[in-house]
Symmetry: C2
């Protein structure tokens, strides 16, 4: 499997070879290396092509020679990275500090290569010391669990190395992406047409949205830049994902031009009068806020369906009313909460989403498609996405091709090479059907409800809020703190509990649950429930385990 | 492998089950489904937990049950997507029009799922109808060939589903990325320190660079946006990748603020005087250009090492002189050409690259790491990258963790979830060593030289320029056009040849070679040589085949 010409070509055995010029004038010796090996004792006239001291005859990488290595590595992956990684009796992680792990892994890259045996050991080690995000006790992020169909789809992608820009290079995956985007738009409620693209992460989807909204508002920005237009501002709630702020920084809008609306009160722009932005709140608490801001021009509102920490849903219908009234682009960041659309029982959480101009939705989260799988969906039917993003690279998007070049979707993207992530969702959707996806979503909701009830029942646990979705947020209060009066001092103590419990669970490897402070709230645990591998017993285990790990604090 | 509770739970057999309230007040029946199956004929009191009509006892996805499916799919991948796909006797692609292929694939997503047998057929079909980018006769893009070590690394990633933001979730891959970035910086010639990040594509790397240069020039842009600063402009050559233009559009700079310098004459900013930008040329031809542009403030120069179409290298040393003189950020887009740095013989092409402020370099191109594998490397040692990109999300980057949080690299990224692509490069580098990587690069150069010589020798072929790198650009002129005088009319006819030849090679499936017009040049073929699976015989084949396919035109 190593390059064959790294064998000692100049060794004594080969001085028998007769070098001659071939008819085309090249210094050639013409046989492939394995033929040379066969003929090493026969004093044949050989014909090897040498250019700049490099032999160009025959391949120097033999993929068939790699077959044993590939088979053995697949065996290791199946045993260690699939079966063992998802086995509840195994650890979620085997913790080592960065310094220790560097020693264990021997990361140095050197001049000489290593044997296949050594590389297979390295594969085993990489798996062994990695966190098992597919383990039933991994609740740390907004993704979890193992989806076999999607994983297999991703193996196919990795083996074939397709890139989505032109139909000619990725015919299957181009059509698959189109089919999945169509179906997702249908689920959103956009009857016909529309547009979209899969890309490398929900953060990028939100950036696509901000840029598209800006282009829609003022197409000149693409050519002339923001220095040629008045200051643009956008609205989002305090609970939104941090990628909105990142988008504002990256896209040159500026983080201060993101108008953050206090949560529990969805404050939305009302109108531009006398060079003033006036905006007002609506929502449950009815708090009114008015701000006057010289020279700012609002162009979009970002609503969040399923916030990262609390799993809360902005009232899309009400926000859509205001956006329509003021001609603002409505983007719904449903990266996490979009999955609720698959459920007849729970899709009301996104009521009005069909009125959005764009939606970001990551099937790699609740729906368990293999990382990454992120759709950016657009209601527009006029080719806005293409106009906004196109650079018309003539070496890639030739217009004189022999097929319908509207299938060359690459010019809608900020990327050039782009992975066909939709396939990972498509194959599992084909296998499971919409019904099974719906049942999984319903089960996650039910499981979250169960966990929240248990938290409320148990001594020493305190629920932050009733879960709207699959996030269950709660404090653990060790016995030593339970009788203290509710005070700043108590909460300062509670704040220090979660980091210690987290450290202990990591070092024990029993589970992974995230914690964070949030606004004025002291550190609390955030359980995320996704995988159908998880049962009521795991919920009970998590609470028991936190209590075990934190009782003495 | 399907959710167990989709089985007919209410069927007659189970009416024997006694539902009771458990001590905690839940409506529970307590046994896992397989236990229920075992006990279906024994009239036992069962204990199943029901919440919102969903059964929460026991996992409803059994990964072990998926083992046969995973094994069988791995067999198909090895046979069809690895062995057959890389077999030179097989077709590069089996062409179907979008309409036909839609019929063949049956893309519709429905309520009901499909059997594993059917899903395995779908896997086979997806592979069958995909273009084999790993085939020895695929020369269509700036990547090609199959690298077994890297492919296996990517399988491990897909099975483990790691995401790079915090050390606690991706300990192994965080350290691996750090090691690879270090080594790549060493190859560039940055002795100690420095920074970097792997991300989803070379286009994004270039965007990182533009944003970082802008932040370096004026940190206020992050908060205040571009509307608060004078018009920023950047310089790049005409031959640069289109992502520079995309970056300018996306980042709010505006495509017109990309000052495009004619190629063959690297025009670089000389100084800002009297509110005028004056810039001047240098380089081989010594053409001078002066432009006066009111109010524009230059902040960076993008130099390209290995242009997309021609494989040309900008003179980095000379550009660095001017950048230093005028305090401009120098970014080198070495996405394609960076691999030459691995070769003692050819690294002179990037002479001066160590003077760049940032470098983009994609190991997934010439070095054959599995798609995508793209490094953005930064010379700065003061944490500029982190300051530029950070959003300090408190739910992810808690500062009260029990380990050194400087290993939480996620806040340097525009993404949130990010794939550990460096691992795909690291494992193959470990296996092959730097020496083997160097030999592969040298061989690609030699192969390109051979092909160029053959093009020059053969009747009906005309070389566009001597290759500097692994791009060989040439026209094919069919016999009917060979005796015509050199005229606009002739070139209009030549322009139409490549698209037809391309159509024929696609429909035959014999190979894939790209073509494009370029500036005032009529359509020409661009051969890209990368894979060690490719031999001199394949070069000869390409020229023979083009002649066979186009003789009658």
């Amino acid at each position: 499997m190593k390059n064959i010409w790294t064998l000692p070509l100049y060794c004594a055995d080969y001085t028998l070879f007769v070098v001659r010029k071939d008819v085309s004038g090249w210094d050639t010796r013409g046989l492939m290396w394995d033929e040379i090996i066969k003929q090493r004792w026969t004093n044949t006239t050989l014909n090897i092509l040498l250019v700049d001291d490099v032999y160009l005859n025959g391949p120097t990488l033999d993929v068939n020679g790699a077959e044993d290595f590939i088979r053995e590595s697949m065996r290791i992956i199946t045993e260690d990275a699939v079966k063992k990684a998802t086995d509840v009796r195994e650890k979620v992680c085997e913790w080592h500090s960065p310094e220790d792990l560097k020693e264990l892994l021997d990361l140095q890259l050197t001049d000489e290569g290593e044997s296949d045996t050594r590389i297979l050991e390295r594969c085993r080690d990489a798996i062994r010391y990695s966190v098992k995000t597919t383990h039933p006790r991994f609740f740390n992020q907004l993704y979890a669990g193992m989806e076999p169909y999607s994983m297999v789809a991703s193996f196919i992608i990795e083996a074939l190395k397709p890139s989505l820009y032109t139909y000619e290079v990725s015919p299957v995956f181009t059509l698959v992406e189109d089919a999945v985007l169509r179906k997702m738009r249908e689920v959103i409620g956009w009857k016909e047409g529309g547009d979209g693209i899969f890309n490398a992460g929900g953060s990028l989807s939100n950036m696509y949205a901000v840029n598209l909204a800006r282009y829609h508002h003022c197409p000149d920005v693409k050519e002339l830049g923001l220095s040629a237009v008045p200051r643009l501002v956008l609205f989002t709630s305090q609970e939104c994902h941090y990628s909105i702020s990142k988008a504002a920084a990256f896209l040159g809008i500026g983080t201060k031009n993101v108008y953050v609306v206090p949560s529990d009160n969805s404050v939305v722009f009302l109108g531009l009068q006398n060079s003033c932005i006036k905006y007002d709140t609506f929502g449950v608490k009815g708090l009114n806020v008015r701000v006057c801001d010289q020279g700012a021009v609002p162009f979009m509102v970002n609503a969040t369906a399923g916030t990262t920490v609390l799993g809360a849903f902005d009232p899309i219908e009400e926000i859509a009313d205001i956006c329509e009234k003021h001609n603002l682009w409505l983007h719904v960041d449903a990266c996490w909460g979009g999955a609720a659309l698959m459920s007849a029982k729970h899709k009301h959480l996104l009521k009005g989403v069909h009125r959005a101009n764009s939606v970001a939705w990551n099937p790699h989260k609740m729906l368990m498609a293999c990382l990454q799988c992120c759709a950016f969906l657009v209601r527009d039917k006029t080719g806005l996405l293409q106009r906004c993003y196109s650079a018309r690279a003539s070496y890639l998007f030739q217009q004189d091709k022999f097929y319908d070049v509207s299938y060359d979707t690459g010019d809608k993207s900020v990327q050039c090479s782009r992975k066909p992530d939709a396939f990972k969702f498509w194959l599992m959707w084909k296998a499971l059907g919409s019904k099974e996806l719906e049942q999984r979503v319903d089960r996650a909701f039910a499981m979250a409800k169960y966990l929240a009830q248990e938290v409320k029942k148990r001594e020493g646990f305190r629920l932050l809020m009733e879960p709207e979705y699959a996030n269950v947020c709660f404090w653990y209060i060790p016995p030593s703190l339970r009788d203290l009066p509710d005070s700043t001092e108590l909460w300062e103590k509670i704040h220090k509990v979660a980091p210690v419990v987290k450290e202990r669970m990591m070092k024990k490897g029993s589970m992974m649950v995230g914690y964070q402070p949030h606004g004025d709230k002291a550190n609390f645990f955030r359980m995320i429930i996704i995988s159908p591998q998880v049962s009521r017993q795991d919920m009970d285990f998590v609470l028991d385990e936190i209590d075990r790990l934190g009782r003495d604090l």
